[in-house]
Amino acid sequence: MDSGRAVTVRVDDAHVHYRVYEDPAAGIKQLFASGRTGRRYQTIRAVRGVSLDLHESETLGLIGANGSGKSTLLAAMTGLLPLASGTILGRSRPSLLGVSAALRSALSGRRNILIGGLALGFTRAEVESRIDEIIDFAGLRAAIDRPLRTYSSGMRARLNFAIATARIPDILLIDEALSVGDEDFRVRSAERIDEVCSAAGSVVLVSHNMAEIEGSCDRVAWLDDGVLKAVGEPGEVVAAYLASTASR
């Protein structure tokens, strides 16, 4: 059914490995007993041979248990994590929704909009032309000149969301960003997400909220321990996933 639509991202037999350094109980004994030099590490095979096509104007849901490799796969699609093997081809570089890592808690909300916007690739002029819209959408007009560390976690999340959705990329990856803030903001952010999804070329949505997945996705992929277990109709894949978690 999707064969007629253009492919925007093609993931072909992608493998992503992490190197995790062990944190052993430090002791004089360990220091001398270990014959090996250097720190010990473990290689985690977070994504193991995933192949997946994303199409034009499609919203793909990505589901799976915690630690199944969903976020790792998204990171690899943006080029944030290197592949151990395989390829990822794309029409343009996908972007992950969110900019919280760029924000500085000592600085005001207004300065953080500048910093976050610049991190997302805006120029200074582009941030300045959008700043009022961002402040209003976040609903932070009164608090915008206060340092970020005085914000509640909900206010922070709203600011992050408002900055991150100020530009709609061609290929958008969303990692469980939808339920931020209070009820009023939740409604507005859900509307903005719909807006973003219809404007973006294609969307990958990672969520544990199955109603949301079934409601907004055209197709769903189920990732289990780094392997793609099923891809297809949202209703079928979600039902299979829920059945497997219930039987565990």
Partner: protein, 275 residues
């Protein structure tokens, strides 16, 4: 739609250097404005606030003068020792801060690197820009102090612009290289303060190398130290201290080699820095 896959590009490969540089240029505001905001954030909680950007270099120079100008006399062979000391300390400090900050710019921004895609070279670039901006009050202070010690501005002072440009290039190249090394081996962060303590004495910050080193061979060997070269050139501009062509050549050569090598090394590893 005859061939819908035709336009797909490999996202796991780094973009070619020219496209990479074009993207860096498009995002240059990030590397200029973010470090300035960070400088502001640094002193936000303190009582004297942004005044510290001026007080810090002033106190640093005062302490060095107390120790090496008053308590231990190392002024042999220098006419204006206070000016000599100030230029040495201030210029040395700039490169030291750039390199030490560059070593941690990748690990410190790992969260950002793992969530937002941008040319990573913007991080060491922001480090260099931030420290260069922090250097401006120190530079003004140094110029004022040099005038106060009896020097008079002349045409020679204009050459300082060239020295600063050469130092910026050198600092940038060194920052790229050290940022790459610091991302792979976090331990260099522990090592660098010791390297700089050694370089401090090898750069003639607090004494005149010419007055203490008599052999021609060893004087030339000092020209291999880029920080010594920069300081010596800056002293020539402001104080009329002697400089020879080896020193100028050393400064320019180190700068251009480090910039090209630093860029090549950094660009090649750009996409692996988040791992």
């Amino acid at each position: 739609m005859s061939d819908p896959d035709q336009q797909l590009v490999d996202l796991t490969r780094p973009s070619p250097p020219v496209a990479y540089l074009a993207e860096v240029w498009r995002r240059r505001d990030f590397a200029i404005l973010v470090p300035v905001q960070d400088l502001r954030a640094q002193n936000m909680g303190s009582a004297l606030g942004q005044l510290w950007h001026l007080l810090n270099p002033a106190l640093m120079v005062a302490v060095y003068f107390l120790i090496f100008g008053v308590i231990i006399d190392t002024s042999r062979g220098v006419d204006n020792f206070l000016g000599f000391l100030i230029v040495g300390v201030v210029w040395f400090h700039l490169t030291q801060r750039v390199v030490q900050d560059a070593a941690v710019c990748i690990p410190r921004n790992l969260g950002l690197i793992r969530s937002v895609q941008f040319p990573r070279i913007l991080l060491p670039a922001a480090t260099v820009n931030g420290q260069t901006a922090a250097f401006v009050p120190a530079l003004v202070l140094a110029l004022a102090a040099v005038i106060a010690t009896g020097e008079r501005p002349s045409l020679r002072w204009l050459a300082l612009i060239g020295v600063l440009a050469a130092q910026f290039v050198f600092n940038f190249g060194a920052a790229l290289l050290v940022a790459r090394i610091g991302a792979a081996v976090p331990d260099v962060r522990q090592l660098l303060p010791h390297v700089f303590r050694l370089l401090f004495y090898a750069s003639g910050v607090i004494f005149s190398v010419d007055a203490f080193v008599t052999s021609e061979f060893w004087r030339r060997a000092f020209a291999l130290n880029p920080i010594y070269d920069v300081i010596t050139c800056a002293r020539w501009c402001l104080l009329g201290e002697p400089v020879d062509s080896w020193v100028v050549a050393g400064m320019l050569a180190w700068g251009s080699v480090l910039l090209v090598a630093g860029f090549a090394v950094f660009w090649r590893s750009d996409q692996r820095l988040g791992a």
